[in-house]
Amino acid sequence: MTRRVVVTGLGSISGLGATVADFWSSLSAGRSAIGPLADIAKGTKIAVGAVVPNFNPEQFFSSEQLPLLDRFSQFAVIASREALADAGLAIGDDAVIRAAAIIGTGCGGKQTDEETYVRLYKEHKDRAHPLTIPKGMPSAAASMVSMHLGISGPAFSVTSACASGAHAVVQGHMMIQSGLVDVALVGGADAPFTYGLLKAWEALRVVSNDTCRPFCKDRTGMVLGEGAGMLVLESEEHAIRRGARVYAELAGCGMSSDAGHITRPSVDGIARTMHSALENAGLAPDAVDYVNAHGTATLANDPAETAALHRVFGSHAKALSVSSTKSMHGHALGASSALELVATVLALHNNLVPPTANFTEPGEGCDLDYVPNQAREQQVDVAISNSFAFGGLNVVLAIKSFPQASS
């Protein structure tokens, strides 16, 4: 029998603040981090975003450390430190030394890359900054987490656009199940507020200039965010042995790919992934209480995701609480699915479902209970978190409550 995997630590930094406490207090109050972008978006048509507020890297890193840390790596290390401490683990612990660190990122070190391109293409300088490669490589965040936290087990980055963080979670889940490691630090990080990336998003015409209104009639697209979400996963046995507080069991994962269109979501693909996550977790559809939706607020995603929920859950679909927390932390790309898993775990742990903020009235083909604007107190024993990336790369993660009594 494969080993059970539990969540014992949470870390987050996002537009909602630099800690999980900030994150959850905003989510449970339905408070959105989306606001006007000042200088950061100058010269682009992107008007709003969810930027980490008052972020000063020097509060978190020494002047010795900073030159090697792209903004996305900074976020990854900050959220990892928090998750580790939250799990009651410390740098130097044997369990940490042997742990895995797997970080999803959609963009990698874009800020570093773009600074070098400005020097070369715009200022016609002859030399790139010597640290461009080690700082900007997409795996830099994994290396930095390993170096800063003294993690010596398997460490690498995975990338699948908006599902990157969730794919990283699956990697950790499989490593623990198979007995390869006992502890895995998993999640995602991205820092997409760079001029070149904003211009690229502008050209794709899927970003809203209003706000993020998932599943609404007047939704006008997604809103970008930034940050990192990190989780400590552990084998049940290891967690119990050291008396760790368990938030939830990561009961199962579903992955699939659409083999279809590069940007258009597929109802079949979404439905197949949710179905496979439930099957993998050994859960009946009607056991699910809460769905943290992918819910990007693009024209294409929301009705497709809703149709897939109907297909998988049948008559139970109407009884589900479905919310998109992207309405509050924005779409932090590779970090989003990890932030959303943190939100889902907290919903289960606190028996409180975060709302879909900025909700007006439901859009065509969006006929489920989206928990509009106000968090809902309800028993949450089973929840799933949906992530569907551009290119048709899908992940659904299923969690269930873990009876501490059994420890």
């Binding site: 050209a203 794709l204 015409r205 899927v206 006008t220 697209g221 269109h261 590069i262 940007t263 258009r264 024209l299 294409a300």
Partner: protein, 82 residues
């Protein structure tokens, strides 16, 4: 044919890899294999060529080649009167 129509047909022909003669104003974008992503590329080229800004919202309301031409005419009328 009006200049906008000529420009639109030329750009669509290039994206759809067909001859401009095969495209009429009432030709559906679907028939030409123009999906949402190709439509975005076409709009971007038109913005460049005509020096105008085309709002994102029009994507949901263009089904034929003529729909794009009509939208462009409207947008230019608005910018002329501004």
């Amino acid at each position: 044919m009006a200049t906008n129509a000529v420009a639109v047909i030329e750009i669509i022909a290039r994206e759809a890899k067909c001859s401009p003669e095969d495209i009429a104003l009432n030709t559906g974008l679907n028939e030409l294999g123009i999906d949402s992503l190709k439509a975005i590329i076409i709009l971007s080229e038109l913005e460049d060529l005509l020096g105008i800004e085309i709002p994102n919202e029009i994507i949901g309301s263009i089904n034929t080649v003529g729909d794009i031409v009509t939208k462009l005419d409207e947008l230019q009328r608005i910018s002329d009167t501004e």
